[in-house]
């Protein structure tokens, strides 16, 4: 018996399939954008300027040594506990009279900060500290601020601070941006990020 020839495959729809795939990838691929922790450096100052005097109770010192170990308020600490400790310090609210903190839920320890506006976190690292550890510490401290801001924003406006910022930076957000900006400003005034970095020890 003679061999049967295979019928020719119709290739007309191939282009459609190709375009379908192309459009699928077009829609699903996102171009990578960089992200990171944004900081503002202090102005360059001549060295003879006296630093302002700040009460010891309002400073939360975080020291990182060259072995990447943490010393927080003169006590050794694991990185995983840092966030909790920073929140406790910021949220302490031991102030009275003018310095009283109306929204703090902390322990009101007389040896800790008076209110979040006065509280300063001081970060000192060694020249030998690894960059990865430094970023982790920065991350935990920013997280502590964000945790408090989220809590207050949730209480006052029923929306977390992170969500508010996300909406504000979203070009497709169709709410009132000016009102949102005002709310964000209120929260940042209540809990300003006061993170001071000293010159590294060598």
């Amino acid at each position: 018996m003679a061999k049967r020839s295979a019928p020719e495959v119709n290739a007309g729809s191939m282009a459609d399939i190709a375009f379908l795939l192309l459009i699928f990838f077009l829609v699903t691929t996102t171009i990578e954008t960089d992200s990171g922790i944004s900081r503002k450096l202090p102005q360059w100052q001549p060295e003879d300027v006296e630093p302002p005097v700040i009460k010891q109770r309002n400073i939360f010192t975080v020291l990182v040594n060259s072995n990447n170990q943490l010393l927080v308020e003169d006590e050794e600490m694991e990185l995983s506990e840092l966030r909790e400790a920073a929140v406790e310090f910021l949220d302490n609210g031991a102030g009275t009279g003018d310095e009283a903190c109306s929204f703090c839920q902390g322990a009101k320890d007389p040896n800790s900060s008076v209110n979040p506006q006065k509280a300063i976190i001081s970060l000192v690292n060694n020249r030998g500290t690894e960059y990865g550890t430094y970023i982790a510490v920065q991350n935990e401290l920013v997280a502590a601020y964000n945790q408090l801001r989220d809590r207050e924003a949730q209480r006052m406006y029923g929306m977390t601070f992170t969500q508010m910022e996300k909406n504000y930076n979203d070009p497709n957000y169709n709410g009132d941006k000016d009102a949102l900006k005002e709310k964000i400003d209120v929260i940042t005034d209540m809990i300003p990020q006061k993170l001071s970095e000293a010159e590294p020890t060598s």
Partner: protein, 160 residues
């Protein structure tokens, strides 16, 4: 007389290649879309640390990149294994950072200068000494907005 048509000879018909251009174009478009152009060839190791409290860096044209880390293996014989700074396509010393910032500013439109951000892409094993030196130089050059570029992830992974 046979009822059936006589079969043609047994060889297979040629596969149509009409759709080949489509496939090629599809691939081309895909790569065009998915590719991120890297302005600088990296000469240093650049394993970024993890962090989760991050902000996105939009507007690529307003960012100045400073890389730092150990020289890549193929440069190690020449430059050693001590962490170094890379500006544009070459290694630089700490003093050159200021000059770099000024020349970057020069190339931007005047009204955009206040929005310029410096992205520090530093390898996670670099010592803070070098990073602090860069920061001091940036302060002198009044490039105060910086961003520590990180990979989104749990920061605890940095310590392990």
């Amino acid at each position: 007389m046979s009822k059936f048509k006589k079969k043609k000879s047994g060889d297979l018909p040629a596969i149509s290649t009409a759709s080949l251009p489509d496939i090629v174009f599809m691939l081309l478009f895909f790569f065009m879309v998915a590719t991120v152009m890297r302005q600088n060839t990296l000469m240093v190791e650049n394993k970024l640390p993890f962090a989760d409290q991050v902000e996105k860096l939009d507007k690529k044209d307003l960012i100045m990149y400073i890389y730092a880390g150990k020289p890549s293996p193929r440069y190690q014989s020449k430059y050693g294994t001590e962490a170094r700074i890379q500006l544009n396509d070459k290694f630089a010393s700490v003093e050159e950072v200021q000059q770099f910032i000024y020349s970057e500013r020069e190339s931007k439109r005047e009204e955009l200068i206040p929005y310029l951000t410096t992205a520090l892409k530093v390898d996670e094993e670099t010592n803070m000494g070098l990073v602090s030196d860069i920061k001091q130089e940036l302060r002198k050059a009044e490039a105060l907005k910086i961003n520590y570029t990180t990979v989104v992830g749990d920061a605890m992974q940095n310590v392990e």
